[in-house]
């Protein structure tokens, strides 16, 4: 008993891809950013909850983390937004060569960040099994590191992809654009964490 079709419109003229909110990928990324953002927010809430359980923060005899590695990381990740913005723009304008070149730069930056992150773990002055302060500080850093790692992996794969013949496909530019969007989320999420790990224990 299927109703007979009554043709009212034709969609053939529609484009097959769109950037930003016109893209389904964008919505997917937004969804995952909400989820990840939720994780960060809740971990931060847990951080403050645990902080409220202690008289001093960090609890004695632990010293606040050393600043150098974390601050360097923050500077590099902030600076990485420059190439990131350029990539996003280049992708949206379909400039393949530029995208290819800058993706490699981003892969390099990611690598540098991961190395610095290694030093960060070493500069926390506390281990995760020492006390709840150590646990939550490590949790924040590990949580953020997984984001760096996954986005870096994504960048590596996508960077490789852009250097193949698939690179010319329009959809790949959307992927590059969304990857850049996600990177923004990654460094934006870092800023409060940087404050919580490195500065709050000094101010509190």
């Amino acid at each position: 008993m299927t109703p007979a079709p009554r043709f009212t419109g034709d969609l053939a003229h529609l484009p097959t891809h769109g950037f930003g909110h016109r893209s389904l990928t964008w919505w997917g990324i937004i969804g995952f950013m909400l989820i990840e953002g939720g994780f960060f927010a809740l971990t931060i809430a847990a951080y403050f909850y645990l902080m409220s359980q202690e008289h001093s923060w960090p609890p004695p005899p632990f010293r606040p983390p050393n600043l150098i590695a974390g601050t360097l990381f923050t500077l590099v990740i902030l600076l990485s937004e420059l190439p990131n913005t350029v990539i996003k723009r280049a992708a949206e304008q379909g400039r393949l060569r530029e995208v290819r070149k800058l993706m490699l730069v981003m892969v390099g930056i990611g690598l540098v960040l991961l190395v610095i992150r290694g030093f960060e773990f070493n500069s926390l002055n506390v281990l995760w099994y020492d006390n709840a302060y150590g646990s939550i500080v490590w949790a924040l850093l590990v949580l953020h590191t997984t984001h760096i790692l996954t986005d870096w992996g994504d960048t590596v794969v996508l960077g490789g992809l852009m250097h193949t013949r698939h690179g010319i496909e329009a959809r790949r530019f959307i992927d590059v654009s969304e990857n850049s969007l996600y990177w923004r989320f990654v460094w934006l999420a870092w800023l409060p964490i940087y404050f919580l790990i490195y500065w709050l224990p000094r101010l509190a």
Partner: protein, 620 residues
């Protein structure tokens, strides 16, 4: 503009350099000034003096670990002085053959030196007249090996006493033995402790007025502490005073006149405990006893109450963690002052009490001074038991002060431990502002030389179970360096002005006793094996010598048969904190050793085990 920029750069550059220089000088300058201040001799108008009658001391000899009944550890030998101490050289050494904590003080009587080792408490008599100082005789009392597992914090022995041709020693398993000093023959042997109940003996007995005074150890095993007076000649127990229980057990009678109302009342040793908790209430006597021959009174402190978990024993827990004054003949208590009523942190009151006569608010008072484990320097009228002053000498968060009206210590509510939830940053930690290792007093400078600790801790109560002969604690604890990051400190305390004259920070906790000499030199040792001599007036380091192991002993000074002044010290790490190395424990467990090993996880880097006597003298 193009013309001006080099000038501008130059200006800025010069400015920066100047600023940096000034900043450097300021920083350096303050440091230097502080250091300079510490090196200037400390002057004071009115000096404290050793209590009249209690400072008597055989010339150039060392009969009891504290040197004299006033516990000054002062040697009136002045051959070694601030000028020449830098030339000190080892004169001879002697290996004891044991590798546990060597906390004892050597004794020198005539031309013989007497040594006692940690468990198995072997006694050696060294003939000082011969160049190689041979062993004249040795004596092994063969204590019960089981006692090793009951000794709380290493199997130490803090020394012997000599009187009237006899040496009086104790064994870990609780026997008091009198030896003939010439032959090493046993004269009598009296057991005073029962290891099946957790009782051991580590303290140095004190001989005075014909009595051998011995307490017990085991405050961590729920023993009921007591002080025994044995007849010097026969070894019979003359009197025995418990630290908990009914008045008749505690030897509280009509002559008992404590200064503060909270110590007045009948059978407080029972009533200030829940149920029968007093039977396992601790209050052992394992530290030092001072004696005032004029007043005929002894002074000693009682240890922490058992268990450590204070929630299991609501009340003041009399007569633990306090100072008793007793008549030496009858043992009857004269007064009592509780330094830590309802002790929360293992803050015993067993530390040495130095008997002084000194001006307090303009009048001369007969006082005793105790650098307490609570971190307060107590100045107490030794006639009445009134606390004249109590000033913090160590890092302190646990207490806010001592109320001189009621005598009660004031707790910081934020640092009261609880069950099930950690309380952090408690200073001083369980070993206190200072543990057992005794201070020295020099009547020449009027200063007290206090080797002490800078440790804080995390503490939590877990509930205790009492099984006879096993630990009775109910806590978990974790200690660490206090504010500043250093762990030990040598403080020269001016009891009259109630403030430090100078202080020396030590990386590791200080666990050795101190010695002051008439040459105005103060000796002490460190856990990394350095034996140090500092200027008694300024604290300036004059000399140091690296021994084979960490020093936890008590230095003494004597005049040898050759007429020279010698300084003797045991080297051999151990004791509670040093047990980490001597016992081969595992510092990966932060709660090990009641939490103290966490404060010195690096100790093995500084010292290995050892057991050797070092004797120093100036080159001939």
């Amino acid at each position: 503009m193009a013309q001006r920029w080099p000038k501008l750069v130059l200006l800025v550059a010069v400015g920066l350099v100047v600023a940096a220089l000034v900043a450097f000088l300021i920083i350096r300058g303050t440091g230097e000034r502080a250091a300079e201040a510490a090196r200037t001799p400390y002057e004071q108008p009115a000096l404290a003096k050793t209590a009249a009658g209690a400072g008597a001391h055989p010339a150039g000899q060392w009969y009891i670990p504290a040197g004299d009944y006033a516990s000054t550890r002062f040697s009136d030998l002045a051959d070694i002085n601030t000028q020449n101490v830098g030339q000190l050289k080892p004169a001879f050494t002697f290996d004891t053959g044991y590798l546990k904590g060597h906390e004892a003080a050597p004794l020198v009587v005539g031309s013989t030196m007497y040594l006692v080792t940690p468990y198995p408490n072997v006694v050696y008599a060294l003939d000082l007249t011969k160049p190689d100082r041979p062993v004249k005789w040795s004596f092994n009392p063969h204590p019960n090996p089981k006692s090793q597992g009951i000794a709380c914090c290493d199997v130490v022995d803090r020394g012997m006493s000599y009187d009237n041709g006899r040496l009086f020693m104790v064994t870990l398993d609780g026997q008091v033995i009198a030896l003939d000093a010439n032959s090493g023959a046993q004269v009598w042997r009296t057991p005073v402790a029962d290891i099946s109940k957790g009782e051991t003996v580590t303290m140095a007995p004190l001989v005075a007025a014909g009595k051998v005074l011995v307490g017990d150890s085991g405050g961590e095993l729920g023993v009921r502490g007591s002080l025994k007076a044995l007849d010097e000649g026969s070894g019979k127990v003359v009197w025995k005073a418990y630290s908990t229980g009914p008045d008749k057990d505690v030897l509280i009678g009509p002559n008992f006149h404590p200064y503060y109302p909270s110590d007045q009342g009948k059978d407080l040793g029972v009533k200030s405990w829940p149920g029968e908790a007093w039977k396992q209430g601790g209050g052992t006597i394992w530290g030092w006893i001072s004696y005032d021959p004029e007043l005929h009174m002894i002074y000693y402190g009682t240890s922490n109450p058992g268990p450590w978990d204070a929630e299991d024993r609501p009340g003041d827990d009399k007569w633990t963690a306090g100072i008793f004054a007793r008549d030496i003949d009858t043992g009857q208590a004269r007064w009592f002052y509780q330094t830590a009523p309802h002790d929360l942190y293992d803050h015993d009151a067993i530390n040495e009490m130095i008997l002084l006569d000194m001006p307090v608010n303009g009048t001369m008072r007969k006082v005793l001074v105790q650098p307490g484990r609570t971190g307060f320097m107590y100045v107490i009228d030794r006639v009445t038991g009134q606390v004249l002053s109590a000033d913090p000498y160590a890092s302190m968060t646990a207490y806010t002060g001592v109320d001189l009206k009621t005598g009660r210590i004031q707790h910081n509510p934020a640092e009261v431990p609880q069950s099930g939830r950690v309380t952090r940053g408690i200073c001083p930690a369980a070993p206190g502002g200072k543990d057992w290792n005794p201070s020295a007093f020099s009547p020449r400078t009027g200063l007290l030389y206090v080797p002490h600790l800078n440790l804080c801790m995390d503490h939590v109560y877990t509930g205790a179970n009492y099984i006879s002969g096993t630990p009775f604690l109910g806590v978990e604890s974790k200690m660490y360096a206090g504010p500043g990051g250093y762990r030990g400190e040598m403080t020269a305390w001016d009891p009259v002005r109630r403030k430090p004259a100078w202080q020396i920070r030590e990386n590791l906790p200080l666990w050795s006793g101190a010695l002051a000499t008439a040459g105005d030199v103060v000796f002490y040792g460190t856990l990394d094996g350095w034996f140090k001599a500092v200027d008694a007036r300024s604290g300036k380091l004059l000399w140091k010598y690296r021994t084979e192991s960490g020093i936890v002993g008590q230095p003494i000074s004597y005049r040898g048969p050759d007429g020279r002044q010698y300084i003797a010290i045991y080297s051999g790490v151990g004791g509670w904190v040093g047990g980490l190395v001597s016992g081969g424990f595992d510092p990966r467990d932060p709660t090990a050793g009641l939490g103290i090993f966490n404060a010195v996880p690096d100790l093995a880097k500084y010292t290995g085990r050892g057991g050797r006597l070092y004797v120093f003298a100036l080159p001939r």
